[in-house]
Symmetry: C2
Subunit: 237 residues, 2 copies
Amino acid sequence: MVLWSKRRMQRPELPRLRPRVAPTELAKVDFTELVPDAVPFLGQAAYIQLEFFESLAKSVATAPTLPSKEGLSRAAGAALRKHHALIAEIRRFGVEPDDVMAPFAPAADRFRQASAGADWYELLLGIHVTSGMLDDYFSRLAEGLPADLAARVRAILAEEGSAAVLHDELRTAVEGSPALSDRLALWGRSLVGDTLLIARSALRASDSADRGAEVEPVFTELIAAHTRRMDALGLTA
Amino acid sequence: MVLWSKRRMQRPELPRLRPRVAPTELAKVDFTELVPDAVPFLGQAAYIQLEFFESLAKSVATAPTLPSKEGLSRAAGAALRKHHALIAEIRRFGVEPDDVMAPFAPAADRFRQASAGADWYELLLGIHVTSGMLDDYFSRLAEGLPADLAARVRAILAEEGSAAVLHDELRTAVEGSPALSDRLALWGRSLVGDTLLIARSALRASDSADRGAEVEPVFTELIAAHTRRMDALGLTA
């Protein structure tokens, strides 16, 4: 919390997003051209699911009602299953998951702290925005893996997670409070930059060439999906 | 933390346990004589698993190493499965789990805070001691439920949970540090009283008669099992 308040102060400039881009306007990217290195890809994806689990578990512990606890705890369970299933994939390569995940831990831990927010609603939106973008992203990136591994990883990531429960909790809260709406709109916008950095690091970890230009349309897609997610909550992205 | 430090100060007198009672000396209690009311029984048992989940999730988030995170996160997943499976049993009665769990929430929340301890090791021992005693207890108490429900509940609670991973983490830590040993021995002893109160409230919730005398041997059994658990860690109970 303290850390985040400090970071927030240091960054008055929020990333400015293009207002509303219809999905059809976007060039679809063929992710099979981007071939991630399987092991580091799995390591980062697994560790990020652990971060989602930790954030969701925190949202359970601080939830104001029992029905909220139930919905969020199911989402936490899903993140945990994804984490363990990805760890099992790493073990199939005969390597220790801890060694593979460790290099990603510091940045991912900072990312989780930075997206934890100042209260329960900011925590929920933090998970909604970051997992919404990154689950999509890792699932798309997995297309470049060997076919059978790609299919398994995409099946793991496809398990319904936190999107519906977070949407419902946030939608209900926002409808009753314009002040909360304004605050969460701002908060959601401020999360995009850090999330894109994590996404970008996933490419860098597995590919030494500069694929900046190649992946730019992907980030545009991620941002467009983010905008639709915020729209659905009645929040300006 | 603050709350607990305060409580700790207020209770300098730790419960004094009989030193070492061999299990064979104990009269076995026939739990089928104690017939718990199914719905409140399930409500309290379900909510307590949620507390174990929250404590285990906290131990994951604060774990010093990735292997510790992995072991503890599996235990957290098991507690979550037990919680959700017990909730499903409540729904079979056509009642809302939230309504059934709500009366137990305040005492269970206080109990979790009181057993969270001052650091990661105390948190781990807090879960080990309380879940060790209460999983046994609820499983025994379930013998008094209608046969098919009893079998399902005992199967739910029988899933391997946190005992092995907590034992291993604590054993390793204790072996390297006599100072930690002394502190944890004291801490483990101080947890017994609160845990027995929770156990006692499980009977009271479902049975208006005073079964104090009848269940006394049960508590003696729970304490004996606690002593064996602490012994296995090399800690004086």
